[in-house]
Symmetry: C2
Subunit: 229 residues, 2 copies
DNA sequence: GCAAAAGTGTTTTCATTACACCCATGT
DNA sequence: ACATGGGTGTAATGAAAACACTTTTGC
């Protein structure tokens, strides 16, 4: 550890809450820490922000290392800075959540981690540092954002069925939604492209595929359409 | 400047967006900086967070210094950390907004400021550092929060009239509201005490005074009442 | 008695909710 | 032919919006 850090013992880091959806449950990407403090425990991936790097840049760097993905939906959540939150010194951390299409990712263990794994959000009971708190705060924020912004699509493949979309909302918000009302609401907003293409490989009537259209969304917004689920 | 700071040139600060309402306009407390960088310019009050101090503690300290107030409504907004946002080195800053009753305050210039003044939010066109951006982000957040949480009262005297409350909402949200509908909505929530006391010193029919009741609010919330304006 | 803001209900409009059956495909 | 999820419309309900006149006080 360089002298000035040893002395001043003050630094800032980013922590990433990387959400993924596998069609059934909401997951978050965790690492198993190799070293102390909290060696062997599950934690959120994160890293110290270097002196010449913007906060988002650092968050994107961690994300790229772990998932190989660029251009990912990223949102700053909150900054956690309790004096004693890190046993080795003063580290305040800025939390970012990101939404990724879980199928696109082939996760690669980073050097600082023994393992990297998708864990079901609902099953997580403890994490290193104050990461459980951070994760819960981020989840609450995701739930809030999901209702008011068209970001759910970030968690799905580019082409998706309305049922898949609905299921995503149900899982994240933890509430059941009415099928007909849900479809009406989404389709009336006019923010989706109806692809003239069907689901395949299912043993029932295949569903129509849709994709989110950013341009349509901007247009709709101009015309006073307010996204809300 | 101590050696390790000179060397590492990395620090974190808090900046406070202190909102006040004078019955007519929304104001924010600004300081005129005494020293460079940005000497002579208006800025948000803030300070470096010491190594042994929590973030909220630092924010409260700045607030106390400037206003003499403790126990103030305080909310973390966002963290600003662009590499070049501070000309003297790397300083990331955590923004907190607070809501205070403007009448309670006798503002005291802090040592680092030439002047401290309430400025109309709408009239502010530039500030030192990235403080304009910070202020605008905080205002947007306040507007959002004001609609969904019973925090408007924090900006008013303990006893207030419904017209005052309505005016506050109109000014902050920048939209007109219907008098009867507004009253209906607020009173139906059952979160106010009707004081059996009237306004005095006005040259028209005096209005009833009300106060916000936290206990009533908690009760209402339990019964499924959702605060929304 | 006039100016100024306080106070008060009803109707209309619109958005949300609740709800059940036929359809297309794979096995 | 049966199992599985896909796809569709209407009526009922409740919340939000629109709207105008009387009341009380100070001057």
């Amino acid at each position: 550890m360089p002298f000035q850090q040893e002395f001043y013992k003050s630094a800032f880091s980013v922590d990433n809450i990387i959400f993924g959806f596998d069609g059934d449950t909401l997951k978050v990407l965790l690492i198993k820490r190799r070293e102390d403090p909290y060696g062997g425990q599950w934690a959120l991936p994160g890293d110290i922000v270097t002196p010449t790097e913007d906060l988002v840049t650092a968050a994107k760097r961690v994300l790229l290392q772990l998932t190989g993905l660029r251009d990912v939906y990223l949102e700053q959540v909150h900054t956690f800075g309790k004096v004693d939150r890190h046993p080795k010194g003063r580290v305040i951390t800025i939390a970012y959540y990101s939404l990724i299409n879980i199928a696109k990712v082939d996760i690669a263990p980073a050097s600082f981690a023994e393992k990297v794994e998708w864990k079901e959000v609902r099953s997580i009971e403890s994490l290193a540092f104050d990461h459980l708190d951070i994760m819960q705060t981020s989840l609450a924020r995701l739930q809030q954002d999901l209702k008011l912004r068209p970001i759910g699509f970030e968690l799905l493949p580019e082409k998706f069925t309305l049922t898949e979309l609905q299921r995503l909302y149900e899982v994240v918000l933890q509430q059941d939604l009415d099928k007909r009302n849900f479809r009406k609401k989404i389709l009336n907003m006019n923010i989706l492209n109806t692809l003239h293409e069907l689901q395949s490989g299912v043993s029932h009537r295949p569903a129509k595929l849709y994709s989110f259209d950013q341009i349509k969304y901007e247009d709709a917004k101009k015309n006073g359409v307010i996204f809300e689920i």
